[in-house]
């Protein structure tokens, strides 16, 4: 899409976007925290790594929620975040299978 042709955003869809960011943003953050855990040393093992993995949810969740208002409307926010969830959980499954 050309920059000039971009549809204008407005604040009307705040509730739909916020709820998408809170709910699907959370599940996305959990899945991505798992992907990060699987791809970094230590994987899913050890008390300290388990704590670190938990800490990763907050920045991921806040980032998704922060940028969710860039979607043009609520439906697009839900749709794209649902798709991102499918991709992230697929990736998590792959990472976990590889990690054994």
């Amino acid at each position: 899409m050309r920059a000039g042709a971009r549809a204008k955003l407005d604040s009307r869809h705040w509730f739909g976007k916020t709820s998408a960011g809170v709910l699907l943003g959370y599940t996305l953050a959990v899945a991505l925290s798992g992907v990060i855990a699987g791809l970094t040393p230590g994987g899913f093992e050890g008390g300290n790594k388990v704590q670190f993995n938990m800490w990763m949810i907050a920045p991921l969740w806040a980032t998704v929620l922060g940028f969710v208002y860039l979607f043009r409307d609520s439906w697009r926010a839900w749709w794209w975040l649902a798709l991102a969830n499918v991709a992230a959980f697929g990736l998590l499954w792959a990472v976990r299978s590889l990690a054994g």
């Binding site: 938990m54 806040a62 208002y69």
Partner: protein
């Protein structure tokens, strides 16, 4: 940086609404958080002096312990031997017994009288710092912990979004706005410049505080979800400690020598002991390595084999694996528990600057809804702007005055009431709600000046209660070495009076078309009373 105006508009709306909904709760959290930076000095200031005889030397700790166990066998389940007794831990041997209420633990300490008799005292560690910490953790909400924690977590998450949205709104004009403070006729411009400067320069601090607070609020649900999604149902927390196998624990003096040999630079506060099944002891060492940050705010603790004195170092900052060090750093960055008192004072200033960020944010909202006076006839301000200005003044200054009042009460309550925590809360909320009601009743301008006097007065009561202690009035006391608390309070009194003077000047001589003006308040009263007559 070029960002579409529609995007700016959307994020401005997000920023404004999060600010309006969460700003005042964040003000309380930040102000109370600043005060908790010195929780230990505050606790020592507020703790009544112990009536116990001076603690016996560390070599005689076991003799004291045996005497305690002979008289109070239940102490054997869990006790500590204190290496460096302090005002809040005034005994060589301390233990906890169950109280009447569920999960209530009452701490006792013991010493030997001059004639060798055993003395036992119920310890009276002050709960003042704990109350201020509760205000901080639960953003000042008078709700049960679980409900308040949920709201606090939502506020913290929204606050992270507010930081991002504020940054997006500022980005296009960041270069020209960054070092500008245009103090002139345009008040909105000045507040905006002040708000932007505070926000952008403390952004890293605020991001850390916001994200760590989200974790503090939600770590249980986070772990529960990850247990299901990542770990196949159950979290494996790693290896368990091997049970100690010895028969006779080493004396505390010997444990201290062995710990110091293993942990040079680690200052030992004391040892804790727990009796496990089969009669063997589990032990921990509590202390502080001042060269490292700590996740436990004011101390570090780790396991210790009481039979060999061998320290399990893998829980100590500086000796953990990388992931552990990272998690330890997240905690320490929130608590400012690294670098000693200079960093603590820095965090006090950052916390107060944070409170100022929310205060100026609300004032901006008020200023941008201001109705300008065009002719000679004065214009009443919008109701929404008036109410928000009054709430901003009432909630902020009400919480400041309430915290000062409840701290000042610390030296009067123990001689008069049993449930200290309850009374501390009653005093805080009474002053807080009086402050809010007063601001709504008197208008933002007059209310602010008068509530600032109330802040000055309640804060002045803090050194007065110490003075009463020096003179032995009303059961108050004055602990040696805690004058810093009283001096800090005196400085705060001067600041409150100074701000009150500025507020009054603006109210009297500033423009009348403002929620801060006395004229606006008077006129509003006229409008209301006329409406009532007709």
């Amino acid at each position: 940086m070029k960002i579409g105006t529609d995007i700016i508009k959307v994020y401005k709306d997000v920023h404004i609404w999060v600010g309006i909904v969460c700003g005042l709760m964040l003000f309380i959290a930040f102000y109370a958080g600043s005060i908790t930076m010195f929780e230990k000095p505050l606790e020592r200031w507020a703790t009544p002096p112990s009536a116990l005889s001076p603690p016996p030397p560390l070599e005689n700790a076991e003799k004291l312990l045996d005497a305690v166990l002979a008289e109070r066998p239940q102490a054997a389940k869990g006790y500590s031997i204190v290496v460096t007794p302090t005002t809040d831990q005034p005994a060589r041997v301390i233990w906890a017994e169950r109280g009447e209420r569920p999960r209530q633990l009452i701490e006792y300490g013991a010493s030997f009288a001059a004639d060798g008799r055993l003395e036992v005292e119920k310890l009276r560690k002050a709960q003042t710092a704990q109350l201020v910490d509760r205000m901080h953790q639960f953003v000042g909400l008078p709700l049960p912990d679980d409900a308040a924690r949920l709201i606090m977590g939502a506020v913290a998450l929204a606050y992270a979004v507010a930081l991002l949205s504020g940054l997006i709104v500022l980005l296009p004009t960041l270069v020209e706005d960054l070092f500008a403070l245009r103090a002139g006729k345009n008040l909105k411009r000045m507040w905006l410049d002040a708000h932007n400067a505070l926000g952008i320069f403390s952004l890293p601090f605020h991001l850390i505080i916001a994200l760590t607070s989200v974790v503090f609020a939600f770590h249980d649900p986070f772990y529960d979800t990850q247990a299901k999604v990542l770990y196949g149902g159950e979290i494996n927390w790693g290896e368990h400690e091997a049970a100690p196998t010895g028969r006779v624990p080493l004396p505390a003096g010997e444990l201290l020598v062995r710990v110091q040999a293993q942990l040079p630079g680690f200052e030992v506060f004391g040892f804790t002991f727990q009796q496990r099944e089969g009669g063997h002891l589990e032990a921990g060492v509590i202390g502080l390595d001042p060269r490292r940050g700590t996740r436990a705010r004011t101390y570090m603790r780790t396991h210790l084999d009481p039979y060999t004195g061998e320290v399990d170092t893998h829980d100590l900052p500086g000796r953990m694996d990388g992931w552990g060090e990272a998690v330890n750093a997240f905690f320490a960055l929130h608590f400012g528990s690294y670098g000693g008192n200079p960093v603590r004072w820095l965090y006090v200033l950052m916390g107060l600057a944070g409170a100022a960020l929310f205060y100026t944010g609300n004032l901006l909202w008020v200023e941008s809804r201001r109705r300008m006076q065009r002719g000679a006839a004065p214009v009443p301000q919008k109701r929404s702007a008036r109410v928000l200005a009054e709430l901003t003044v009432g909630v902020s200054l009400g919480s400041v005055a309430g915290i000062s009042a409840t701290i000042a009460a610390a030296k009067w309550l123990p001689a008069r009431v049993d449930d200290l925590m309850l009374w501390h809360e009653v005093i805080y909320y009474a002053v807080f709600f009086i402050g809010v009601a007063w601001a709504l009743l008197r208008g933002a301008g007059r209310g602010a000046a008068e509530l600032l006097w109330l802040c000055a007065l309640t804060t002045l009561l803090i050194p007065f209660s110490s003075l009463a202690g020096v003179w032995g009035i009303g059961g108050a006391w004055n602990q040696a070495g805690t004058a810093a608390i009283d001096l800090t309070a005196l400085v705060a009194v001067a600041v409150f009076l100074l701000v009150a003077r500025f507020t009054r000047r603006r109210m009297r001589h500033g423009r009348t078309d403002s929620v801060w003006s006395v004229a606006d308040q008077r006129q509003m009263t006229q409008v209301v009373s006329k409406g009532a007559l007709t």
